[in-house]
Amino acid sequence: MSTRLAGKGRLINKSRAVSFRFNGKNLSGFEGDTLASALLANDQMLMGRSFKYHRPRGVVGAGAEEPNALVNLGEGGQFEPNQRATTTEIFDGLTATSQNHWPSLEFDVGAINTAFSRFLPAGFYYKMFMYPRAFWKHVYEPFIRQSAGLGKAPKDRDTSTYEHYHAHVDVLVVGGGIAGLAAAQAAGERGARVLLIEQGNSWGGRAMVDTPTIDGIAAEEWVNNTIQALENMQNVDLRLRCMGAGVYDHGYVLAYERLTDHAPKDEGPRHRLWRVRAKQVVTATGAIERPLSFAGNDIPGVVLSAAVRDYAVNYGVSLGDRTVVVTNNDDAYRTAITLKQAGLDIPAIIDARPTAQGPLIDAARALDIRIEFGKGIAKVKGGKRVKSVGICAQAGEGAVLEEIECDCVAMSGGWSPVVHLWSHCGGKLVWDAEQVMFRPDHENPPLGADGAAFVATAGVANGHLFTAEVVADGWAAGRSAAKAAGHVKRGGQAPIGEDAEEGPISSVWLMPQGAKHALRSKAWLDFQNDVKVSDVQLAAREGFESVEHAKRYTTLGMATDQGKLSNINGLAILSQSLNDEIPNVGTTTFRPPYTPISMGAITGVARDALFQPIRKTPVSDWANANGADNEPVGQWRRPYAYVRGGETVHDAVNREVRNARENVGLLDASTLGKLVVKGPDAGKFLDLMYTNMMSTLPVGKCRYGLMCSENGFLMDDGVVVRMDDNTWLCHTTTGGAERIHAHMEDWLQCEWWDMQVYVANVTEQYAQIAVVGPKARKLLRKLGGDMDLSAEALPFMQWKAGKIGAFDARVFRISFSGELSYEVAVPAGQGAAFWDALLEAGEEYGVMPYGTEALHIMRAEKGFIMIGDETDGTVIPQDLNLQWALSKKKEDYIGKRAHTRSHMADPNRWKLVGLETLDGSVLPDGAYAIADGTNDNGQGNTQGRVTSTYYSPTLDKGIAMGLVHKGPDRMGEVIEFNKVDGTTIAAKIVDPVFYDKEGEKQDV
């Protein structure tokens, strides 16, 4: 059984008990425990089920690499799935449940899959779910959905808060082991601005467990001294529980700090995402131990050797009473020695190497530990817990020579440097055959903006496994990084480390070497996704020879741990299957983040009101207090209608339309884009920007203009106003102001930079209110002022500046409704007061504000197009019968050349028409006009589509506009439009102007 040892545990505080719940059971651990160590102390080895076969799973590691011990953590608004028990610090009241089983962890119906595992090989999904096609939707999809996903999705809204933090440093050191500390010290002493981050909650890394000597003192003491020294440096910042998540272009690094996961009652954000710009990055990220591939290596109780040691030393937890150690290197002997010295039984060390010598082997011998060289494990026996191991010759095929009873197997297949951060931004790797590992290739580092390396690795992550090299390498990396960042101060001295000498590792990818299929199909590579040696071999046989293909075919390394334990073992098996060298097969791509980070941290404070800024007009506050039913238009919120008590939104819209047509309405048009274009060449410039001629527009007049993109498509429209000789005011659509401003700047700066023109976006400087309806003139006159607003003094399509009442006004006689209309712009600061004055003065004329839906209906009744309804980025002015706005006099304008392309001049284009249903009903929005026959994909042919469709309260019937094949030539023809229920509706092609065809009402 797994249990707590007496008197041990470097990181725990035995005087402070912590209570928590796992699968509904109340359990107890100590302050400093991880969830994994606390569960093990309670003899809870079984922590989850694997993804595919629902095999029982216990911990295999003790850190970030853990693939098995994943739990649902917390409840309600604090719930989070797939949390690694090995990196979760316990606190009073923690609740966790295990995942991927039903009805219980101990008894899981899904485990039946394991019995059928020979029918669920690599690529099962691809092979099984192909035929028959009719099964796709109703048989296979429900099955896949049922079995997809690990853990549960949270149901409640996250109650925690998160934040982002920006930092600019000279040297970022990732990893707080002895290499990282030496690097931070060297860089700090040189005067560089240093940030040192460590994903765990304590400094020193593995050295704290393995206790080498540094500068003549125990590693623990050296670490404490160094931390003290670093904390005293003004230019060095240290952060624990802060993981280097990803390294990106030009020294951009994301780090993930877990602030209150271990103490959820503390104030402040739960996670912090650090957005670091570092001149130099040193990754001192250590290494991850590799499992060995032997049959039954996934049975709970088979654990990585160093993890077994970590649990004993750090948490005072033994994983079993009798531990068999199996290895291909010297390091695992440390585990055997540690356990033996703690009073536990080590029946044998199974060493796959023919022989080995050195102080660690001698020390094991001195403790009377039995060592078997040249042997391997043929098979582990046990179900939910290891019962025994069968020993065989490593060189053989797996004949069991001896069975040894045990309840724990500590395995070590060597070490893989954590090269993830090095690789994220392009750092390459070399295969080190002697040490059996991929390590960073210093010839091919990630490059910065200056073409020089900006990432260095140090210590174990750099392929140096021994303390002397680790600290020297860390110190040198820190010193070089500081120098590269411009800090050349001399001084300081590299630390000197020493530890036990170790003999060479031998590469062991399969145990035993000649294992038959029965054993290979039980030798796990990826514990979470259930990928075995036999699966990778099958993938290779079926032609998935590229490591990236083999990965996706087998799902090797695609679990939440991203193959931290499985990738190297898997590609070694693949390379053997292909009879190729490991470096030729290569690794899959390392992608950020290093371990999963929370969505909350990515979001930071950008949620709710802070998700994006909401733009308000001077009238918005009034509107929101007076029934505005808002709709989003870009970052604006525009009133769709102003709903009164007892009304539906639809009622309100109809009332607003009728009132504007019969009395007078007010529209808050402040959101319309307003660009001032000014300068000696402004007219010439606008002639290029617009399809119409704008340079000839007389001062005091207004002209409706169209803007096309260079490939001829209509991109914006609006009224252009000539203010004075050198100044034009260009109105854009609400959504277009920033885009059109940028468009003008682009052409002005990059193509016609010789032109003397300024463009300024003054959209928010003015409140603009459309006073619309037969009584509009009466209303404005009542306000007084110094302007003559008569039809003679201010005719249609002209403008004037002056006073309306006490307000400084620009009055434009433009109409988007077909009614008598004055659009009045006042400085934004006067906008709210002007709106109030209009409402008050207009009471006797029945004034009412109207919203965007009434605006849309009135413009549709008039056949006016709307950018985004009648246009979609593929529509040209000619499609909308706007040829009149395309100047023939101008030599050039943006889009002119494109309009001569053959497809643009094609007479078969869909063109704008009005549409009226025969029964007066409203056509469905976006409906397609159906045509005879089918296309090459077997879909029905179409001959047009609805672009705008409304109920017209003015005409009391449905009206619509649409683009129809040769539409204007087919007036009076009836065509059928589809409906979502599969039926069709007949509509007649008519003139798109439904109301006041002669335009008499607006020009009075």
Binding site: R277, L447, A449, G451, D746, C750, R897, T900
Partner: protein, 109 residues
């Protein structure tokens, strides 16, 4: 995330402060141009693995468009320069030629 130096305001700007505008030094083809030239101008873009000239706008800064000479493979930036020019300045061309033997402006991309 790239950092590019704005040659107008002198700021070393994060990519999030910039707006990418595609290939630089295109020659505009207007009315009267052949279909081939117009197609080339409108649609055909270089996509080199190596030295590339790009348009960028310092949109959350001074608002100016500038050009960057950059290696798309290594992300090395050889220099940035104002957009009001038909070809890169000589010092940038020299710097690229030094770093990438065999490269010359005439070959473009």
């Amino acid at each position: 995330m790239l950092i590019l130096h704005c040659p107008y305001c002198g700021v070393d700007a994060d990519e999030t402060d910039l707006h990418a505008g595609g290939q630089a030094h295109l020659k505009r083809e207007g009315p009267g141009s052949s279909d081939e030239d117009f197609e080339d101008y409108l649609f055909l873009r270089a996509n080199p693995k190596g030295v590339h000239f790009e348009r960028w706008r310092h949109v959350y800064g001074c608002g100016k468009w500038f050009h960057a000479a950059r290696c798309t493979a290594t992300l090395q930036v050889f220099g940035t320069y104002p957009a009001q020019t038909l070809e890169p300045p000589q010092d940038i061309k020299d710097k690229i030629a030094d770093a990438r033997p065999g490269w010359s402006w005439g070959d473009k991309e």
